[in-house]
């Protein structure tokens, strides 16, 4: 049972990561820096709870703010470029952050052992949950509560005017600009919201794994972050959730019995999925047919 609880925790945290990339992708920018914001959130939250003995919620709040500010600061110079240049710029930023934590040591003496991040060895002993008597189930509920809140906020944002502005910028920048939309503001705010979500996700990630190190936040995590929304489809927040369940639940855990072959299949399935459904699992057409299927009875009775 614990295995499934753990899996559900992983899916929850990765959903937060995917949602942060979803938000940025809405304005059709590809950001490979989400793993970096995730790392910033993880380190900040963990340092606050471990070294300064803060409450978890306060630490998560601060980590969200710090990640959001980082994203905002990255947004301005990075948004001068588009397309491939932006991919490379954010990729390089992500790697720079990872290398910063690779060289980052800040430890204090607590009792007989030293605590705090220690360069290449990473950051051990993030024991907030066991110390405060949270069971695995409590943690799970907490994570999914956060996921639900973030998804609800994004859903609301999507329906609101701000979401329409973001999508307009994503669809056609020039047209959006000539319609009087402040393109830079839309892009930077999308980046900032993405940073905030990644910061929350990172903070939770640090606490349930109890050990973080620079290697976890590399290019692979960054590509996963954009893979979720792209595979899931950008028309809806639930696409991202679906893709995370598909990748983490089915491809990574469900196919474990295949042993070595699983990794081969993993890349191949992504390529296949993109060839068959280039707009993602849940595209606009798919949702329409899903609605028809679900509400078919109602429509026929009404007609």
């Amino acid at each position: 049972m614990d295995f499934y609880l753990g899996l559900a925790q992983v899916i929850g945290v990765h959903t937060l990561l995917g949602l942060s990339a979803y938000c940025v992708l809405l304005t059709s920018q590809v950001s490979l820096a989400q793993a970096a914001f995730f790392a910033v959130g993880a380190y900040v939250a963990a340092i606050l709870t471990v070294i300064f003995k803060w409450h978890l919620f306060a630490a998560l709040g601060v980590s969200a703010v710090v990640s959001g500010l980082t994203a905002c600061a990255v947004g301005f110079p990075a948004l001068r470029v588009k397309g491939l240049m932006l991919v490379v710029a954010t990729l390089a930023f992500g790697e720079a952050v990872r290398l910063f934590f690779f060289n980052f040591t800040y430890q204090i003496q607590a009792g007989e052992l030293k605590i705090g991040p220690h360069g290449a060895e990473g950051f051990r002993q993030i024991r907030y949950f066991p110390e405060h008597g949270w069971s695995t189930f409590d943690v799970l509920v907490f994570i999914w509560l956060m996921v639900a809140i973030v998804m609800a906020c994004l859903w609301w944002l999507d329906q609101s005017r701000a979401g329409a502005v973001m999508r307009a910028v994503g669809e056609d920048e020039v047209a959006a600009h000539s319609a009087g939309i402040n393109v830079t503001a839309a892009k930077v705010s999308a980046m900032t919201i993405g940073g905030v979500i990644a910061g929350i996700g990172g903070g939770i990630f640090a606490h349930y794994t109890t050990h973080i190190e620079h290697a976890q936040f590399g290019v692979i995590l960054a590509t996963f972050a954009i893979a979720y929304p792209i595979l899931g489809g950008l028309s809806n927040v639930f696409g991202t959730l679906l893709a995370v369940i598909f990748i983490q639940g089915f491809l990574i855990e469900g196919l474990r019995f295949l042993g070595d072959w699983r990794n081969l299949l993993f890349g191949a399935l992504i390529v296949l999925a993109m060839n068959l459904r280039p707009r993602g699992f849940l595209d606009a057409g798919g949702i329409a047919s899903l609605k028809r299927m679900l509400f078919a009875g109602k429509e026929s009775s009404g007609a």
């Binding site: 490379v88 710029a89 720079a96 690779f102 060289n103 290019v219 999925a273 993109m274 060839n275």
Partner: protein, 296 residues
């Protein structure tokens, strides 16, 4: 810094410049695919390493001289390039760059895993030419294998530039990269040009993979990711779509990387390369040879 340190610093820059020809070739590959297709091929560096592995696999039965291994790598690179086009690009709508980006990420993971699967993840020794030759220039030494890599890289670039500016294929490629619709109306087959572009860049990539294998002395699937990052950085610093820019940026990145490694150690080395990239993005977003504004 006294004289001895200065000599060491110059020495490391020289080594880095020689190795930088690998980055330059990778940068040309990225830039050419982007120029023709307006799409990013993130699997390119992995395919290059895959081609180098393929050459070892192809010639595993008998002991071949290193030059034959290099040619085999180029051959494998061409084949893998065509495969990458048909699997990751051909059937995905042109108007959907995100899907292509994702499919090349899938290919990157797939190629990496195929390498790990066939070799059990063990690094393999890669043959180098002239590895016992050392040229002494005053206080400096130039390693023979690095010099060979450099000369080979330069030869490939010259051949490639001749191909691009002196042959019909080159004209067609440049036409497609500028105006796909107009060139199609003039009777150029876009499919043919795209496939040939992938084959040519695959050959360049295969040679680049073999070169990095020879310069480092071994091949490892772990090389794919850093080479992808470096190749992309070179592409951007050189100015997207600019081939001379990619060449010069490759040499600059190689030289500076080696210098920073000498000055600040291996763990901080890449940090400074990233900062260099940021400096370029902020102060000169078009790269070294920025195109004049107003052209598409």
């Amino acid at each position: 810094m006294d004289l001895l340190d200065l000599i060491d610093a110059v020495q490391s820059v020289a080594d880095g410049l020689l190795f930088g020809s690998t980055y330059a070739l990778l940068g040309i590959g990225f830039t050419l695919i982007f120029g023709v297709m307006h799409k990013i091929n993130l699997s390119y560096a992995a395919a290059s390493i895959g081609a180098a592995y393929g050459s070892l696999l192809l010639l595993s039965g008998f002991t071949a001289p290193a030059i034959v291994v290099f040619m085999a790598a180029a051959l494998c690179g061409g084949v893998i390039g065509a495969l990458v086009y048909f699997i990751g690009f051909k059937f995905i709508p042109v108007a959907n760059p995100l899907a292509t980006l994702m499919s090349t990420v899938g290919l990157l993971l797939l190629i990496d895993e195929i390498i790990v699967h066939t070799t059990q993840g063990v690094p393999l020794a890669y043959p180098a030419l002239y590895s016992d030759v050392v040229v002494r220039l005053g206080p400096f030494m130039l390693r023979g294998d690095l010099m060979f890599v450099f000369v080979l890289g330069c030869a490939c670039m010259v051949l490639f530039l001749l191909l691009l500016y002196r042959t019909r294929l080159g004209i067609a490629t440049r036409a497609v990269s500028q105006q796909p619709v107009a060139s199609q109306l003039c009777g150029i087959s876009i499919l043919q040009v795209n496939v040939l572009t992938f084959v040519v860049t695959g050959i360049l990539g295969g040679i680049a993979g073999a070169m990095s294998g020879a310069a480092i002395g071994m091949l490892s699937p772990l090389l794919a990711q850093p080479l992808t990052v470096k190749g992309l950085i070179v592409t951007v610093i050189g100015g997207l779509g600019s081939i001379p820019g990619a060449i010069i940026a490759g040499l600059i990145v190689g030289g500076l990387e080696s210098l920073f490694q000498f000055l600040r150690g291996v763990t901080e080395r890449d940090l400074y390369i990233m900062m260099l990239l940021f400096a370029f993005l902020v102060f000169r977003p078009g790269g070294i040879f920025a195109k004049a504004p107003g052209r598409d």
